[in-house]
Amino acid sequence: MIRERNPLVVSGVVGDVLDAFTSTVELRVYSDGRMLCNGCNFRPSQVVAQPRVDIGGDDFRSLYTLVMVDADAPSPSNPCLREYLHWLVTDIPGSTGADFGTEIVSYESPQPSMGIHRLVLGLFRQPRRQMVNAPRGRQNFNTREFSRLHNLGSPVAAVYYNCQREGGTGGRRAFLRCGISVVVVFGVLSLCLGLEEGKVYFRELRRLCGEERVLRVWLGIWVWACEGLLCGIGALSG
C-alpha cells in the first residue's frame, strides 16, 4: 500500500482546492509570531491580522499570486460555500513578501462558526504582470478556475492551517450546554418572579424543545428538577 506522506494530500487540500503539484518556491507564513506549518491550529484571535508572508524564489522579476481561501465554508460537513475567499494578492515580486504585491481582495480574518475549517494559502507563479479583476464575491470562489482563467498553472507552493471557533466547535453538545445554562438561569429568575410564573415558564420551555430527543431528555431532567424544586418551595412556603 503506497502511503501518502504529503500533508496537503492527506488532509484533502490537494483535491478539494488545489491540483497536485510539486513545490518549487518556498513559502513561509507567520501569524501572531508563530510560523505556519501544515495542519497546525490557530484560533481566530491569532489570525485577526494579515499574516506575514515571505516568498522564496530567485529574482524580483518573477511575479507571484497569493490566494487564501477557506475550504470548509460554512461548515466542513456542509461546504456549500466552498471556497470562501479571504485574501488575494497579485504581482508579488520573488523573494519578497506579500506587502510588495497588489492587494486585489483585502484580507478578511477567518471566523468559523461551525466545525474545524481548513484555511489554505496557495502561491501561483504569474506568467507576466497582469491586471486581475476582483471576483464578484468571496463565496463559492474556485481557485482552479481562477488559475485557469489567468494562466497561472498549478501552484508552486501551498500551506494550510486549521481554524475553529474560540470556544470549541460547538455542535449538539454545546447546544445542550447552552440550553441547560439557559434553563438554570431562568429557573433562578422565575424563583424571584414568583413560583407560579416559574412553573408556567418551564412548561412552555418543555413544549418548545420538541424534536431533538436527547436534548429534550436532558432539558426534561433539568426542568423536572427545577419544577420539583419550585413545588417543594411552594409547598414549604405554603
Binding site: 506522506r5 500533508p7 492527506v10 488532509s11 506549518c37 501544515n38 497546525c40 474545524i116
Partner: protein, 281 residues
Amino acid sequence: MASSKVMASRSPPNPDHPSSPSPFNILHPDQTRGFAASMNIDDMLTNIYSHPDSFAGFMLRDEAAGEPAMTLEDFLAKAGAVTEEDVRLPPTGGFGVGTTMLSAATATRVPVVCVQNGVASGGLGVDFANGVVAVGGGCGRGKRRPAVEEVPLDKATQQKQRRMIKNRESAARSRERKQAYTLELESLVTHLEEENTRLLEEEAELNKKRYKQVKLQIRFTTDFQANKWFIEKIAVSTVKPVVLGSVAHLYGYLDLMENLIPVVEKRRPPRALRKIHSMEW
C-alpha cells in the same frame, strides 16, 4: 481441501440452530425446497460450484483464488442484493467455510449478516431495530461500502441514521486531520535535525580554522602591591571563552611566580545530549 474444510466446518457444534435441516437454507434460497436432508457432501459441492450466485460458492472460489479482499466486496454486493429479498427467512443457520464465517443473528426480524474475514479485520453488518439493513464492509484495504437502506419506518431512526453518518464523516475528517499534522511534524523533524547537524558541523569547522589563525600575545603583568596578576591576551580574531580557557590551560604549564595566584579554570560544561535521526527510531 475444500471438501474437508466444508466437513470440518459442519462439525463444529451449532447447538443453537436446532431447527435447520441444512445450513444451506439461507444460502440457497432458490434451492430451499430442493434440499434433502440426506444430501451428501459431493452433491453439496456440485451444487455450490454450479451456482455462481451462491454465497458459499463465492467464498470457496475466493479461497481458491486467494483474494479475499476483492471478492469480499463482490460478496457483499451479492449480500446486499440477496438480503433484501430473502431476509424473511428465520435466521437460524450458521455456516462456516474455512476461515470465513457466515452467521445470522437471531435477535430481530431481519437477520444480520456478519462476515468475518479471518485474514483482514472483517466487515460488519449493522442492523437497526426497525429493519433497516446497512451492510458496511471492511476489506483488507479498509474500504467501506455505502450503506444499503430500506425505507425507514419513522423519522427518529431516520434522524439517528443521518446523525450516525455525519458522525462517521466527521470522525474520518478528524482522523485525516490528525494524520496530516503528524506527517507534517515528521517532515519538520527530519528537516530540522538535518539542518541542525549541518550547522553544527559548519560551526566546528569554522572554529578549527579560527584556532589556527589566532595569534596570541600573552602578557603577564604583576601588581606587587595588590599581589595580583593579570593576563592580557591580544588576539587577531574575535575572542571566544573557549580560547581563553585554552590560554589559561597553557598558562598552567608555564612557570609560576611565587606571588602569583594561579588561575582556577572551570571545566567547560559538557555538551547536552542531542537527538538525531529521530525518524529511524
